[in-house]
């Protein structure tokens, strides 16, 4: 999931709600979609902006770890697949920012929040991509974890967000298959390739589990978001589903998941597994992951270096508008 620890605002018990709020909640309970110009509680709007923008920022920052290998992709076909994937991520970022804009906040404002550190992006993108198998692992595990959440979000209550998710999910599941294909090539390849694959799994396993956010018992913001259908499943439900799906895939690859306590639990019909180190998770969110500083520096540089380009295009658009206006017969009089 690309949205972690999104703080929900304005949790109210039914008896505290006014009539409008009760009617709004009734529509959500009935499975209706909320559309941009309709009335919504301020808390709903703010929480959605926070969640959608965190998701958008994650897509944009997420270009960086994978972009790191585009110039070094080992074949022309792999290079094309990776380029297309990173391009899709930029596209996802773009429609998510557009979805957020329908809630009355501009892309520039959201970008400023990202650069100032006020807005967050998924912790996963603060980890480095160190060998080519990481590109496989990111597709397999990171996109795989993201899909778990996003498939459910296709049913989220806010129309533009739900519709963006439909398209994003199609592309993400394609990315996940491509990632797994790279993992197969690596795991079934030479001993050196298999070593890269295992190394990638060792480094990405726990950070992938962290993508779902803290354990339900520590997740304080979930209840309101779930009532509003901004969040559909709990963190632990999704994490369990992810582990259950991924363990057999790792076995097929002949790779070892770096968890000595991983075991099938017949009674619950799922795997028991070790929790990630949550102190690491909170450290990464605070800015102390291995790549936080580099990721933000890269985005800041792209923004600063692009200022003259954006200003130039705006100035040109104004000149063209003035020329059109001057050419109009009435203006000329």
């Amino acid at each position: 999931m690309y949205a972690q620890m999104v703080q929900a605002e304005g949790m109210k018990a039914p008896e505290e709600m006014d009539e409008r709020e009760r009617a709004f909640q009734a529509r959500i309970d009935a499975g209706e979609k909320i559309e941009p110009k309709e009335w919504m509680p301020e808390g709903y709007r703010k929480t959605l902006i926070r969640q959608i923008s965190q998701h958008a920022h994650s897509e944009i920052v997420g270009q960086l770890p994978e972009g790191n290998w585009i110039t070094r992709a080992p074949t022309l076909e792999r290079k094309q697949i990776l380029l297309a994937k990173v391009q899709d991520e930029a596209g996802h970022g773009l429609y998510l920012y557009c979805a957020a804009e329908t809630l009355g906040v501009s892309r520039d404002e959201l970008n400023a929040q990202l650069l100032s550190g006020k807005a967050k992006y998924s912790s996963i993108f603060n980890y480095p991509t160190l060998n080519w198998a990481d590109i496989g692992a990111v597709g397999w595990l990171v996109d795989g974890a993201a899909i778990m959440n996003q498939v459910a979000l296709q049913r989220t209550s806010y129309g533009p967000y739900a519709r963006a998710m439909v398209r994003i999910c199609k592309e993400e599941s394609f990315h996940q298959r491509q990632g797994y294909t790279i993992m197969m090539k690596m795991a079934f390849g030479t001993p050196a390739q298999k070593r890269m694959a295992q190394d990638a799994l060792n480094r990405f396993w726990y950070p992938s589990l962290m993508m779902f956010g803290p354990s339900d018992k520590d997740s304080v913001h979930s209840a309101q978001s779930m009532a509003w259908k901004i969040k559909i499943n709990t963190n632990d439900e999704l994490r369990q589903k992810f582990v259950d799906q991924t363990v057999p895939q790792a076995k097929y690859l002949g790779l070892t998941i770096p968890d000595a306590d991983l075991a099938w639990n017949e009674e619950k019909g799922g795997y028991d597994f070790s929790e990630p180190d949550w102190s690491e998770f909170y450290a990464v969110l605070k800015g102390n992951g291995p790549c936080n500083a580099e990721r933000m520096a890269a985005r800041q540089k792209a923004w600063d270096d692009g200022a003259w380009y954006r200003d130039g295009l705006m100035a040109n658009a104004e000149k063209r508008a003035e020329r059109r206006f001057a050419a109009m017969p009435i203006a000329a009089e």
């Binding site: 391009q87 930029a90 390849g189 050196a192 792209a302 003259w308 380009y309 130039g312």
Partner: protein, 249 residues
């Protein structure tokens, strides 16, 4: 005819090296729309490189496919123009290089569509559709940024001045070109210059830019004499294939 192999390498290497350069912008562009557009251009160019290099490998008959040619040759066997290996620099230089190259590329491909060699004509027919769009986009941006703010104009002018010495190589014909022209496989590059001047001139004038008054041209790329930059591009691009030569990817 060995000259067709050379033609395919020259066309393919231009696409490969420029595609590599353009892809360096992924995630670092001035707006998201540019990240998307640059990735698109890079994808088109890498796809074209794949077609040209596959043809070169097939005609050469030494069992090399497109990947072998891209990943296992050293710099002196590359046949691209020096222009395309120039560093990406600022976005203005990247865009101006794209525009100068796109205009040449489109004219070249329009002629190659009518090549006497059916395989060349077939690749050109696919590529020209993409490149027509590349030129439309780069030309439009050059015009807008030239006629934008004082800073954007200054940057575009500086880019044009810096790249101008690499323009002449696109139109320098050698013995291979003359053989290809004699067999109606490809036009001699010198014959494209007038059309290119017309095509680029109108956009550069609309951009309020001054066309440099110099004929000086750095040459050598098409004969395998490159700038220092190509070695680093290849070190980057070929790393995995060189370090793990027995691996399948």
């Amino acid at each position: 005819m060995n000259e067709v192999v050379e033609l395919a390498l020259r066309m393919g290497d231009n696409c490969l090296i420029l595609g590599h350069r353009v892809s360096e912008w992924c995630g670092h562009g001035p707006v998201i729309e540019e990240d998307i557009a640059m990735a698109n251009v890079a994808l088109d160019l890498i796809g074209q490189a794949q077609m040209w290099l596959a043809l070169a490998g097939e005609l050469e008959g030494q069992g090399r496919d497109a990947d072998a040619l891209a990943y296992r040759r050293d710099a002196f066997d590359f046949r691209n123009l020096l222009l395309v290996e120039r560093p990406i620099d600022d976005f203005g230089v990247t865009l101006m290089r794209q525009f100068l190259f796109d205009a040449w590329h489109k004219l070249m491909l329009e002629h190659l569509v009518r090549s006497s060699d059916a395989r060349v004509a077939e690749i050109a027919a696919k590529a020209v559709k993409e490149v027509t769009y590349h030129l439309e986009r780069s030309g439009d941006l050059v015009e807008r940024l030239g006629d934008g703010t004082a800073e954007s104009r200054a940057r575009m002018q500086a880019a044009l001045d810096a790249l101008w010495p690499y323009v002449g190589e696109m139109f320098a014909s050698d013995a291979i070109d003359h053989t290809l022209a004699a067999h109606a496989v490809a036009p001699a590059p010198e014959t494209l210059r007038h059309e290119w001047d017309t095509l680029t001139g109108s956009a550069l004038r609309a951009a309020t830019l001054d066309i440099p008054d110099s004929d000086f041209a750095h040459l050598g790329g098409r004969a395998g004499r490159h700038t220092e930059h190509l070695g680093y591009i290849l070190a980057d691009m070929q790393f995995l294939q060189r370090a793990y030569p027995d691996a399948q990817w």
